[in-house]
Each structure stands twice: as C-alpha cells, then as structure tokens.
Amino acid sequence: MIQLAIILLSILFLSLLIGWSYNSFIHRKNALQYAYSSLETMLQKRHELLPKLAEVVQTSAEFEFRLVQEATSLLKQRTSKELPPAAMVRHENQIAKSITQITSAINRDAALRQGQSFVHLQKSIVEVEAQISASRRAYNAAVMEYNNSIEMFPTAVFASLLKLQRIDPVDLIVLEPEYAVRDK
C-alpha cells in the first residue's frame, strides 16, 4: 500500500514538474516573440522618418540627394519582417548608418540645420531611437531568459525534444542623440 502511494505521489510530482516546465518554457518562448514584434514595430517607426528627412532636404539645391536615394532604396529592398534576425540586424544597421549620414549632411548645412522642420524631426528621431533602444534591451533580456530555459534543467528536456537552439542577442545600432537639440 505504501509502495503504491509512493509510486502515485512520484507520478503526480513528475506530472506537475513536466507541466510547470512546459508552461514556463512556452511563456519564455512567447515573451521572446512578443519582444521581437515590439522591436519590429519600433524599427518601422524609424523607417517612417526617412520620407520626413527627404522632405527636409528637398528645399536645398546643394544637398547630396544620393544619400536619401540610397536610404530609400534600402527601404525598398526586402522588409525587415521578411528577414531572419541576423540579416534583419545587418539591414537595419545599414538604414541607421544612412540616417546618420543624412543628418550629418544636414548639420553641415546651416540653413537646413536651423529650419523648424528639422528641429522637430530631431526630436522625433531622439524619441524613436529611445524606443528602439528600449525594445532592443527588452528583446535581448527575453533572449537571455529563453537561452537559459533551453540550457537549464528541466526545461532543457523540452528544448531538446523540440530541437530548439540558442538564439543570439541582436546588436542593433541605436543612433545617439548627439545632434539633438534641447528645448532651452
């Protein structure tokens, strides 16, 4: 009788452990997907800044328009949503570099730099980049939790059964607000 009770208790304990491990694993997996979606949404906001930058520079006759064309052509290539994370990071970092080149060129042009539309746009850039930075950190934190669950017992058992692998954190470039203006 005692032996039966021990067996039943062991089965119950094992079932609870499996259930808890599985739920915990699924929770981390979903958290990771959610964090990645948030990151994509924030990057989309960055893409929306490019047409606005193009509007700012169109009044200048001397501006290097090829910079805007290069950035626009990057956007017209495959969207970040279609790419796997590593390729998405490379693609997004190219866009970030393009935006930096455009804003640096604007900063060299006194008339454009002091224009009200560029001043407003700089605030938007600072805001969007702050949100991208937060999303990147949230995603990387979710990656760390996910990788821990893949490599640590007991969730590692499910990970090996489902043939899941480690995910690398993203190394996205976030534009520093060095050219941002202050209200005062």
């Binding site: 958290a31 964090a35 948030s38 605030k123 600072v126 805001e127 702050a130 949100q131 930075s133 937060a134 999303s135 950190r137 949230a138 990387n140 934190a141 979710a142 607000p177 941002a180 203006v181 202050r182 209200d183 005062k184």
Partner: protein
C-alpha cells in the same frame, strides 16, 4: 525658482527676524498664561482643603467637581491655543520662504497630497487611510512638483503600526507612458540572496511583472516591477539607472520611485518635511533650516534624475 540656501536666507532673513520676535512674544505670553493657570489651580486646591475643614461633604463634592471641570476646560483651551499658534507660525514661515522662491510656489501647513494621487502612485498600500501635512508646490527649472508629509498606518490587534512615514513627491515627467513602472529598494535579494530573492520577486507586485535589468549595480540596489517590459526600459535608460544609483548612494535604501503618464513619484521614507515648534528658534539652524532641507532634498532628486533635461517634447 529654486534658490541656493545663502541667497534664500539673505532674502528671507528680515521677515524671519520679525517672525522670530513674534514667536518669542507668543512663547512669553503662553508661559505667562500657563503660570497663571497653575497659580489658580494651586489657590483652588488650597481653598478646597480649607473648606473641607469647615463645610459638609456635599459642598466639598460640588467644589471638587467644579474645580476639575474648570481645569479640564483650561487645559483644552491652552492646548488648542498652543497648536493654533504653532500652525500659524508654521504657515507664516512657509509663506515667507515660498514667496521668496518666486514663481508658482505655495505652501499649506494643514494640507497634503490628494489621497487619490497618493494611491495612484502605487508606492503605498491602497486600502489605508492617508494622513499628512506641509504641502509644498513649486517649480524647479521647467519642472513642476509638489510634495508633503504622508503617513499611512494600519490598525491591528497589537495596535497601530506605521506602513509608511515620510515625504512623497510628485514631479512632472516628460515621457509619454501608457503603463506603470515601480522601483523599490531591493530588500528581498539583499536579505535572501540573489537566487532566492529573485525567485520571490518573480511572482510580481500588485499585478506588475518583475523587470530584470542589465546594470548589475542597479539590479543589486533596486527591484523593478512594470506593466510593460519595453516601457520600463524606455524609462530606465542606462543613464537614468546610473542617476538613480547615485541617488541611492546619497540617501540609502529609503527611496522608491513610480513612473506613469505625466508624473514620477518619489517616496522618501522616514524623512519629515519641516515641523515648527514655538520653543525652537527659526534662525539660523532651526525651523528655517528644516524647511530648506526638505526643499533642497526634492530639488536634488530632480537634478539627479535630470528631469529638467528635455531633449524631446511632451
């Protein structure tokens, strides 16, 4: 506008000297009244003793009853007058100092932050009555703030125990937020160790999830709970985390923070804003100093958190 101590003292000194004279006169008058009352009580007792010798029991009982009633009324009157004088002095000192700050500064000795606002902060228990006083509203640079003493206690079988006692500050915050992020001193990890402490914290706080941040010094000092992992990191940038760590180094484990749409709340436990006392001189290091200390503390918190820096528009 906030002013350094020396500049403020230079500006308010003449008016505070007048109030100091007023305080001394009030104190003198109060002592005179108290001595008179005491003398009357002694004379009354002497009369009762004399009458006890020559009169019947009924007369003595009536006299005793009458005497004790008179003493009760006198004590009540003296106590009320003393508190009124103290409150008036406190309000006068506060008025002088807040007027000297210029701009939209105000002081109400008998008011405190609205209970709705205190509860909204999420830093203190929701279902308890809230008491407080010394409400100060002001501006530091472009940043508006208000703060007051707040006391929250619970009545249990073993009597009354304090849940929170200190200053609660509400400061304008210039980031667009949809959720709530709370930052508490990390008492669990310090008491139970990093692994067990984190496990305990992972159950969350009032429906908010634990947010694990990458700055190890900040993580060791604070526990963060938020309704949105991304928004918590949007607020707690590496720069903000290092600012908050510096504040902790300065003021210890007494600070808690709450960020939500339009406002950042900072709770500073065990810190009382100024309380005047008729027996304590106003100048140089008396009531004025206590008042200034609380304003200086709040503006120091605003400076450390760099809430005056606006590189984005609200």
């Amino acid at each position: 506008m906030y002013k350094p101590k020396v500049e403020l003292l230079h500006k308010v000194r003449p008016k505070l000297v007048e109030l100091e004279l007023q305080r001394k006169e009030t104190l003198k008058a109060r002592r005179k009244t108290e001595w008179t009352a005491l003398l009357l009580v002694i004379v009354g007792i002497a009369l009762i003793v004399l009458l006890t010798t020559y009169s019947g029991e009924h007369v003595v009982s009536a006299l005793l009853f009458g005497s004790f009633t008179c003493i009760g009324i006198a004590v009540y009157y003296l106590r009320t007058a003393r508190l009124k004088a103290k409150d008036e002095l406190q309000q006068s000192i506060g008025n002088v100092i807040t007027e000297a700050m210029e701009g939209n500064w105000s002081y109400k000795a008998d008011r405190h932050l609205r209970p709705g606002l205190v509860k909204r902060s999420g830093l203190v228990a929701k279902s308890r009555p809230i008491y407080g006083n010394n409400l100060i509203k002001g501006e530091h640079g472009d940043t508006k703030f208000s703060f007051s003493n707040i006391n929250i206690s619970s009545e249990g079988k073993d009597g009354r125990s304090d849940l929170f006692g200190g200053i609660l500050v509400a400061i304008d915050f210039n980031k667009e937020l949809k959720g709530k992020t709370l930052v508490f001193p990390d008492l669990a990890q310090n008491a139970l160790g990093p692994w067990l402490g984190k496990k305990v914290q992972s159950f969350g706080w009032a429906g908010l999830d634990l947010v694990y941040l990458e700055d190890p010094i900040f993580e060791k000092a604070f526990a963060v709970y938020g309704s949105d992992q991304v928004e918590a990191r949007y607020i707690l940038t590496p720069h903000m985390m290092s600012n908050m760590t510096r504040l902790r180094e300065r003021y210890g484990d007494r600070l808690s923070f709450s960020f939500m749409q339009g406002t950042v709340f900072v709770a500073i436990e065990y810190e009382r804003s100024f309380e005047s006392d008729l027996k304590v001189p106003i100048l140089p290091e008396g009531t004025f100093y206590h008042f200034y200390k609380s304003i200086d503390l709040v503006t120091d918190v605003i400076d450390h958190l760099q809430l005056n820096t606006r590189i984005w528009s609200k």
